[in-house]
Amino acid sequence: MTAVNVTSSGPAARFLAQVTSQLQPSRLLPRVGGSAQRLTQRHLRRLDRERPNQLGGRRTNFYGKAARGTFFTVAPEGVVVTVGQQGMRQRFAGGVITPVKARFLTIPATAEAHGKRAGEFSDLKFAVIPGQGPALVRASDQFKSVGAKRKDGTRRQKQVSSAGDVIFWLRKRVTQRPDPTVIPDAAAYGTAIANDLATWLNTLAARAAASPSATT
């Protein structure tokens, strides 16, 4: 039978002390926050690629902008990742939306209405569409200048919508289904953070092992 004596001042103890000094919450949480922030941003960037506007037209890049506004804060109980984008909580949790300042909510009916306010259109009129409810419709045909300038300085006019086209549906309330997929799920956060921390611990251990105080 044999025995070894590991003293509290030996190399192994110094190695442990070096590693554990890095594991204080105040030093570890920025790493955790960085991992969670990165995972959230990657997720939102992927949604930006995969979920263009349903109506087509000019993209608002809602999720890409949400990714830009994602950041983490170290809090007493851990780390808080915030997606500072209006509309994210509503998409995540769903629920009933009612107008606050106006009588109706304006729901885009065409690509050109997407991302716009009704007040940005100068030629809309109220109409009740049989079987479909109230709406804002075009009062007159709309044309857009396209192509290169002609000799007389004018450009070709292309009709983009006709009088009577529904631009916005008007609703007293809408119910949005919750969509928890707009942010990564708890398991994804757990995996990403655990993987990042595991590789970080390897780095810390390698540093401590290479440190002169841990080997002498």
Binding site: S26, R27, P30, R31, G33, G34, Q37, R38, Q41, R42, R45, D48, R49, P52, R59, T60, N61, G64, K65, A67, R68, G69, F71, F72, T73, A75, V80, T82, V83, G84, Q85, Q86, G87, M88, R89, Q90, F92, A93, G94, G95, V96, T98, G115, K116, R117, G119, E120, S145, P178, P180, I183, D185, A186, D196, T199, W200, N202, T203, R207, A210
Partner: protein, 262 residues
């Protein structure tokens, strides 16, 4: 997973407010001004109306740091307080800016109407808002590197696409050119061999990549690109950094300047 109360992005707010700088200069002429003046001012090319600049800056600040409202009609089991994030949307900003332009009798020249040079066009207003919001947020992310533990864990970053564009720029070509200018041969090699645009956070490539000379996004007008943090271990695998080297991320400070000027 239950959402908690959001926290204001206070680091991003350190880029706002800035001194208003009405100017008749075009973007090309502005680019020749002293970088330090531009970085400390809020301006938009050929925008002389101070009220317009002031409205832009206020709305942009509200978008960067939306406030929370309690709405009884929004109470759900997952949102028992009925918290709602409130910030201006682009549509309401466009309406307000156009109103101010009307009050000031602004009319675009016939050649400029509807283009980016038209101060009242969708394209122009969207650009001013999107660029300034993205810039403040990116600066907020830059400030995260003031924490030495964070910078130690994430000493590198990658240029990646945040927003889709119809006609994306060729960033790989710009990356190679910026790497050559900055003398960052490692960044050039990583892009050539892996296709990834990764460099140390203290590399000169970031400022060289930018038409504005800043080391944080946006790096060009209307750019959909942004930065993602890269862990030390991933950066080591790419040969961008070794295990022990600490990066000192240069962080220009702007806060408090308005108070000093007052």
């Amino acid at each position: 997973m239950t959402p908690t109360s959001p926290i204001p992005f206070t680091d991003a707010l350190r880029r706002l407010p800035r001194r208003l700088m009405p100017t008749a200069l075009s973007s090309g002429e502005l680019a020749r001004l002293d970088r330090a003046i531009l970085d400390r001012s809020f301006f938009s090319a050929q925008t002389m109306i101070e009220d317009v600049l002031d409205a832009y800056q206020r709305r942009i600040t509200e978008i960067v740091s939306p406030r929370q409202e309690r709405r009884p009609d929004r109470v759900t089991p997952d949102n028992p307080e009925g918290l709602v994030t409130v910030a201006p949307d682009l549509g309401s900003v466009r309406l307000q800016i156009r109103e101010l332009l009307d009050v000031n009798s602004y009319t675009p020249s016939p050649d400029d109407a509807g283009t980016i040079k038209d101060l009242s066009s969708d394209a122009r207003i969207n650009l001013v808002v999107d660029m300034n919001v993205a810039e403040a947020q990116a600066y907020g992310h830059l400030l995260q590197n003031a924490d030495p533990d964070f910078a130690d864990a994430f000493p590198a970053q990658e240029l990646v696409r945040f927003e889709e564009r119809k006609e994306p720029r060729d960033w790989a070509v710009r990356w190679q050119s910026a790497a050559a200018e900055a003398g960052d041969e490692v960044a050039a090699r990583v892009q050539r061999t892996t296709g990834r645009m990764v460099a140390r956070k203290d590399s000169g490539i970031w400022a060289k990549l930018s038409v504005f000379g800043r080391a944080w996004p946006p790096f060009d007008y209307g750019s959909g690109m942004g930065l993602e943090d890269v862990t030390r271990e991933e950066a080591m695998d790419l040969g961008v950094i070794d295990r022990d080297t600490q990066v000192a991320v240069p962080i220009p400070r702007f806060e408090g300047e308005l108070k000093e000027a007052a």
